[in-house]
Symmetry: C2
Subunit: 194 residues, 2 copies
């Protein structure tokens, strides 16, 4: 591992984990660096890993039959990212994940994670809590998609991902909101005028 | 508890739980019966409980500022339902949950659930796995909302909730799909003609 353990200690802060358990945990995480434009996961790859973002930004997207891109998720510092449908079942990815701002990550395999749940039960608690938060935020997003205007969804996006806007392309944001880049420009102008 | 323990044993099948732990679990679950039209949870209620459906059908919905209903989720046999954003944080519900087919449920409070995670760690594993599945299915639904036609979303709905269609109202399905009941009729006719 080419970066220290401080980040792993930081990752699980709030959990009382012994020094020995930390060594067990560390051994299961692998560090990796990505450059802007690198593809971390290709559609149809078997998904073995879950990824924790130390810094940088990644984007999970799906390409539909007509070739149009749809952004499911961005991941910034302290977020996890993977194709979870595929990761939980060790199946094939339906999405791709690309690096959009140079990134530093940890990865852990499903197999190692399952062992870790047994060896260090606090890790299962950590992931159960992370899943609760992620699930609640997806629940909000589905309700937003059903009930909010594009402008309201844009405002929610800005609140969910503060400081991300300047680092990513307009068509990424538009494809996350389910609108065209032209609509995005109109919304921004509209907000700026207020 | 007015129904037996068989359902609780069934709920956690695949987990090796001792007889003693089963008694601990049973004591934390409460059984309740609902009639069609009963409201289990009102918008703005503080959410203390998570609900497991033994039989019947429930619907979680959200009413937007213009008074329009949006259906987030149906819950049938062996599904869990709550306003999870509120449940995980013991906050106020933004949704309501109504019984749409007479139902038999178990409920467990967040407090009891947190104790159970410590007393019987397999329960935390059970919920972590349930959350993984629910999260993956929400991930699919968000992608579907972004990329699929109303007809494709309807087909996915039928696959997700088989045998549910005859028991629920057309406007429930339409408000789940984010379309009008007229569009739903057109889609059904279109499929029937094929």
């Amino acid at each position: 591992m080419d970066t220290g353990n401080i980040e792993i200690v930081e990752m699980f802060k709030g959990f009382s984990i012994t020094q020995e358990d930390f060594r067990t945990i560390e051994n299961k995480f692998q560090h990796l660096k990505l450059h802007k434009g690198d593809i971390l996961l290709h559609e149809n790859d078997i998904v073995y890993n879950n990824y924790y973002v130390l810094e940088g930004c990644l984007r999970a997207y799906f390409i539909d039959d007509s070739g149009k891109e749809h952004t499911l998720q961005f991941a910034v510092k302290d977020w996890w990212i993977s194709d979870y449908t595929a990761f939980f079942s060790t199946g094939k990815a339906i999405m791709s994940i690309e690096c959009i701002v140079d990134a530093s990550l940890y990865k852990i395999s499903k197999n190692d994670l399952e062992h870790l749940y047994l060896e260090v039960p606090q890790i299962e608690t950590y992931f159960r809590k992370k899943l609760e938060k992620a699930f609640a935020s997806f629940q909000k997003r589905i309700l937003g998609n059903l009930s909010q205007s594009a402008k309201e969804r844009y405002t929610t996006f800005i609140a969910t991902y503060p400081n991300i806007e300047q680092s990513i392309k307009n068509y990424h944001i538009a494809s996350y909101l389910g609108i065209t880049t032209e609509s995005l420009s109109r919304i921004r102008k509209d907000i700026a005028l207020k």
